[in-house]
Symmetry: C2
């Protein structure tokens, strides 16, 4: 008989785990259970959705259940909510949301890939028809429909994290007036404040009304939020988009007695195994480790989810794979600017007790005489006195932010400023300056390290 594997959650981690396991061990009988109507979609693509016409959402979806069955021999049940896991019996209870039918399924191995949930609002506000969070494809579709049907002209975005920034941008590009509210003194807290300022300038240049250091309240009239209140300010807004934090979706795991870690996510070993025999976890519901500090983290990044899913798939197939951890690398486009980060910010490095310093340089993406040459700002965080690089942040035009990958490898390997300065990076006038901006930054860092600046 085939070994039966159930996967709860059909996105980056779950899809990757299922596909990888099936490729390596074609005899496995794999079924994905997904609460929403879609599997295998790009949640990062939702901002693009707002600019597209009606027929386009399918472009965000890689597989529907029919294609998944035909091409990979993996079953998927959508609109199916898993309600309970009975680990001792290796059984799972679920409900088909359309028919309300109850399912009882047995498994040899279960993979939890339940992702994250947006931070809960109190019920009154969550039920307002013009309040949105974005954590599933449906959320994006509902928002787009609302924008179209109500001809919305203005929006308030609360929270300037990744989702808040992406949605702010998408709404501005759709022609809306957007207010962006953030409780901390800077936007985008995964950057150091000096780098975040460059982004804040870009947002303001595009007409975004930016409110920092504010924890606004929502004024409700009937079933709608009517305005944002902060101090004695009152700003009307037709819709409110909330990005006030997310948390790993662990309730199912916790009910089944599966241990969660310090980060709040499900504890897993490097092979993705939880505290319960037969149950693995991957993706944004599962804990991972920061590669530099070694500490447990709850990542919200899609690539980390896919990487963890891949290792879980290999574990299911009997391979001895391990996921070493994450540098929490990310990249985003904010209007004309790309912004990326990896490793530790200066603030994080100091918090973790590193004797850290940083340099920030402004370089060029191409030779200064190239007609398309543009500016790029690079910040390197490094440890004294040896100069091991702990983190990097890049903001720049064109695709210069993607150069963070060079630093991802360097930081993964523990390279020092000196070693980075001596890398044999690629140069021609169309693609770089003779010394790549990364090397310019490393060389300035070396001067700071030896006390000459």
């Amino acid at each position: 008989m085939q070994e039966r594997i159930l996967v709860v959650g059909g996105n980056a981690a779950g899809m990757t785990a299922a596909s990888r396991a099936k490729r390596l061990a074609p005899d496995l009988d794999i079924t994905i259970l997904e609460q929403s109507a879609y599997i295998s979609y790009s949640i990062c693509g939702v901002p693009f959705l707002l600019g597209w016409g009606d027929s386009q959402p399918s472009r965000l979806v890689s597989f529907d259940p029919t294609r998944l069955k035909a091409e990979r021999d993996i079953s998927a049940l959508t609109r199916t909510r898993v309600e309970e896991i009975l680990p001792a019996r290796r059984r799972l209870l679920a409900r088909r949301l359309e028919s309300n039918d109850r399912l009882e399924l047995d498994y040899e191995h279960l993979v939890l890939a339940t992702g994250y949930l947006p931070r809960a609002l109190d019920a009154k506000r969550a039920e307002c028809e013009n309040v949105f969070t974005i954590s599933r494809l449906e959320d994006g579709l509902r928002l787009r429909e609302f924008l179209e049907m109500r001809q919305v002209r203005s929006a308030a975005v609360v929270g300037a994290g990744y989702v808040g920034l992406m949605m702010t941008q998408a709404l501005v590009q759709r022609g809306l007036e957007v207010q962006l509210w953030e409780r901390s003194p800077q936007i985008f807290s995964s950057l150091d404040a000096d780098m975040a300022e460059i982004l804040a300038d870009e947002l303001q240049k595009r007409g975004v009304e930016l409110h920092l250091n504010q924890q606004p309240r929502l004024e409700i009239s009937g079933d709608r939020v009517s305005a944002i209140l902060s101090g004695n300010q009152r700003r009307a807004a037709e819709i409110v988009l909330l990005d006030i934090g997310i948390r790993p979706n662990t309730w199912l795991a916790e009910r089944a007695g599966i241990a969660c870690g310090m980060s709040g996510a499900i504890q897993v070993d490097e092979k993705g195994r939880t505290s319960q025999a037969g149950i693995l976890a991957a993706g944004n519901c599962a804990e991972t480790r920061n590669l530099i500090t070694g500490r447990p983290i709850a990542s919200t990044i899609g690539t980390v989810a896919a990487q963890q899913g891949r290792v879980v798939g290999e574990t299911l197939a009997g391979l001895n794979s391990r996921y070493p951890g994450s540098l929490e690398t990310s990249i985003e486009q904010v209007f004309e600017l790309g912004v990326s980060r990896t490793g530790l910010t200066l603030r994080q490095a100091l918090q973790h007790g590193f004797r850290a310093q940083s340099v920030r340089v402004e370089g060029r993406t191409r030779a200064p005489y190239h007609p398309a040459s543009a500016s790029t700002t690079i910040k390197l965080v490094f440890e004294c006195p040896r100069g091991r690089v702990l983190g990097a942040q890049i903001i720049g035009q064109e695709s210069s932010a993607k150069r963070i990958d060079t630093l991802v490898v360097a930081i993964s390997q523990g390279l020092t400023l000196k070693q980075i300065a001596q890398l044999d990076l690629a140069y021609s006038p169309s693609y770089s300056t003779l010394w790549d901006p990364i090397q310019v930054a490393a060389n300035v860092g070396l001067r700071k390290l030896d006390g000459s600046i």
Copy 2:
């Protein structure tokens, strides 16, 4: 008294050595001797020159002697040819080309940064007014003047290496009809043939008349080349641009009894010291080592010259710096395509006795649903059975070729396909697919390694 340092050659290596030494040891008395009229210019920028108006050549020049003296306290004598070195007396004989005055200069340390020379033509052909090589800024200026004054409409480029390709492109963009002749069966021999074919297609799409496997002769009438002859073909051409090889410029060193290595370039240790006490060498006249094979090479790459110059500058200032060697990384733009390479091609890896295999994948620069998503082709060369990556080649649109830098670091550090597949690279729909194309290639490589494809 100040220690006197003479630097022969005022471009990437010489300028970097002088500037670095002076910054670290401001007491040094440094003079650069340069045969041409310019120092500190970008030879890689010459193709751009052809598209610019009259006033622009200065954009390729970072420093003239006056600014160099004022800003860095380094002297430079241009139009000054060094004719002999007397190492025993630590003296150098030179001639000012304008006045024909003879100079005798004593030094404590001498740096040879004489670069390379285009392969010599026989005198008759070299003197034809419509035959060009490009190794100095003046060559570019002379070519541009000729194109403008004679209203040239067609050109033959002989040799499809870096210079040949760059100049072909610049001439096509100026509106000329261009024939490109190459004696080997592929263009651009620093790529594997399958990758070079992609470039050849691009050239042909742009109207370049490509002749492979041909060693043409030049038909001369009076003081001009009138046509290109090959077999029984005769193709008229108004100008001929030659890129038939270059060699390290070592005649001065050889006359002074300085040892050259297997590669033909001046032998130096990792600190840049030659066989003669007090004499160092850096840049394309000096030998370096391929980081993977460990073998001596004569590099023609500007970044390597700058890196060597930097180490020589640090040696002059008494630091204990070393230049580890090169992966022979390069990048070029060929019309809409970027092309880059690092490490060994499959052909080179097999020639050097590695048990090598390769994979080639076509990925996307951005998420498939992103309106600007474009294709990028990545080839990875790796060693069996462990999967250590030995080399990489990328051809793609936008700036995807610059992603080679990620592989530069990976290869420098001896990473395997498995390690590359697990890197925490940056993803968002505007900059990558969820699995970066580099990781897609690494994963396909892993399947080849374990025999599943």
